[in-house]
Amino acid sequence: MAKPRVSFHDFTSCEGCQLQVLNCEDELLGIVGAVDIVNFREAIDEKSDEYDIAFIEGAFTRESDRKRLEHIRKCAKIVVALGACACTGGLNVLKNFRGIDESMKKVYGEAASWYETSPALPIEAAIKVDVKINGCPIPKQEFLEVVKSVLAGRTPQIPDYPVCVECKLRENVCLFQKGEYCMGVVAKAGCNAWCPSYGGRCYACRGLITDFNKNAAKDVLAEYGLTLEQVMAEFRMFNGVFPVAEPPADGALKS
């Protein structure tokens, strides 16, 4: 059987997720042995339109990118969204709340009119996505799980439960018990509770679990001293594309 051809593409992002792929030092040789990498700007400069699996990094934030995304979709059998930018728009979505014009002025100043931009969106807004690897940046282990599953032709095992699970299994002291707060209660696990394990709080960079309890998020965070505005800011940080980040109706968060 011919080796699957793999290609990496980047859109609006910091390219940190592609660096995470290169960080898979122990397994990288195995991957290179199992697949043919045809495009990877961070590591090689070959250019090809013949590939089976496309990893797309970065948010969809220019209308002119739609064509390129559609082209990739046409070439690839499997499209994998790589990282928060591609999966949810990531941090880029913050500019949507600030207003596009103001963001442009802030970033490009006088030259703002030279550039094209539109509200940041997940690539799913332009094309169909088959697999999502969440996180800012992606956890290496999840990238490997997806590669192995695609090679074996099975559905990758990606958690849909809160970061708290991994946090408790690592026996961390909860940030709430230290008088701080944390989005781990609503964030998707899979990073092995990366941030709380190093003493930082979780910002839900991996997105929100299905059916998260928004009442509890609002009520409980309020008991820990957060205003509704602060709760909203927590949601907007990485999950601004979801209804929960919209202004609440009658004091209740939207779902």
């Binding site: 397994e27 195995g30 991957i31 042995g33 199992a34 590669v147 192995k148 599953s149 090679l151 074996a152 032709g153 095992q157 849909d160 439960y161 809160p162 708290c164 699970v165 408790k168 299994l169 690592r170 026996e171 961390n172 002291v173 909860c174 709430f176 018990q177 230290k178 781990g184 209660v185 609503v186 679990i209 299905t210 059916d211 998260f212 309890n213 009442n215 509890a216 998020a217 009520d219 409980v220 008991e223």
Partner: protein, 350 residues
């Protein structure tokens, strides 16, 4: 063997004698809390905190680790499968009475229907040094109600009570007796030692009063009455379904099994890890059907497991009153409070 006395000055020597042919694990500080950790260096030994109040995870993690490899496979077909039953001779130092009761519950649950060889292999080479407690760690605990303030009759090897400058050491097994004979620091307890131990237990009983408004033997029936109560929905409004309550519980033993593949897509490992009935995905089956889709039915299920089902299945308590679930619930959901509330539920229905 009759109870012994170990002067505190000889405690390090005792731990050293255990380390000779065992992995020794003991409570140590972890931030503002405590966790059982391996004693590997003299610094670790100095960090042992026999005055700890409550560990984040129970000592269960040494009998059923958070993640463990069950078998490895080199390819397809049964001839390529290698079982991986791992068991290191271990001494768990400082297990409190409630956690001794919880281990007895796990022993019973893992003994049959079906027997769990992974647990049993570890249990067989684990020696337990229990530790008496003087008072509750916080307001969420209710060991007096669950009758877990004192050590169970068996299931431990030594049991230590702090008498100030010395440990009062009860011996619960032959392995415990062997531990005593291996260390020169022990001498038989005298009458004033016995009197001090009796006084300790008396003070403990006085300090740890009951907190349920009923006798815990009625708990299973009260729960059964509360099945259709609105209480579950009211409590679950705050519940994140995050699973912390079950992950820290000393009697929870649910797990998930997954195959982790290698890059050749043929070899790999079968791994089990702790699972939780509080997670939305727990009761989801092929095709997307979910038997406990909503947080209230999941929360009720946990409370029923703790207060009724495990007891009925194993004959041992499903809840030992340690209060960990409530201590670690971000939403402050307290099982003691829930147990208290169902008493009124039953009264309201009559």
């Amino acid at each position: 063997m009759l109870p012994q006395i170990l002067p505190k000055s000889k405690f390090d020597e005792f731990v050293g004698s255990l380390s000779a042919d065992n992995r020794v694990v003991a409570p140590m500080a972890k931030g503002p809390a405590f966790a059982f950790q391996e004693v590997q260096t003299p610094e670790d030994q100095a960090a042992i905190r026999m005055d700890y109040d409550l560990s984040i995870l129970p000592p269960k993690k040494f009998l059923m680790p958070q993640r463990e490899t069950l078998l490895s496979f080199g390819g397809r077909g049964p001839e390529n499968v290698q079982p991986q039953v791992q068991a290191k001779p271990t001494v768990i130092l400082g297990v409190q009475p409630m956690d001794l009761h919880a281990i007895a519950t796990l022993d019973a649950a893992m003994a049959k229907d079906p027997a769990d060889p992974y647990y049993q292999a570890k249990r067989a080479v684990t020696k337990i040094v229990g530790l008496n407690v003087a008072q509750y760690a916080n307001d969420y605990q209710f060991m007096a109600d669950m009758d877990t303030l004192d050590a169970p009759a068996s299931g431990w090897d030594l049991f230590l009570t702090d008498l100030g400058d010395r440990w009062f050491v009860e011996v619960g097994s032959e392995a415990g007796q062997a531990m005593i004979t291996k260390c020169a620091g022990f001498s038989p307890a005298k009458s004033d030692d016995h009197a001090a131990k009796v006084a300790f237990d008396k003070a403990k009983a006085a300090a740890c009063s009951k907190r349920l408004p009923y006798d815990a033997r009625y708990l299973p029936e009260l729960l059964a009455n509360s099945y259709d109560s609105l209480l579950w929905n009211a409590v679950a409004r705050r519940c994140f379904s995050c699973g912390s309550c079950t992950n820290v519980c000393p009697t929870c033993y649910c797990f998930d099994v997954q195959d982790k593949l290698g890059l050749d897509a043929a070899s790999g490992e079968r791994v089990r890890s702790w699972d939780s009935c509080q997670l939305r995905v727990f009761a989801e089956v092929a095709g997307g059907e979910n038997f406990r889709e909503h947080a209230d039915s999941r929360l009720r299920h946990r409370v029923f497991r703790k207060g009724k089902f495990i007891l009925e299945r194993t004959g041992k308590p499903g809840c030992v009153g340690c209060g960990r679930c409530s201590t670690h619930c971000v939403a402050g959901i307290s099982i003691l409070e829930t147990f208290q509330q169902i008493a009124d539920e039953a009264a309201a229905e009559i």
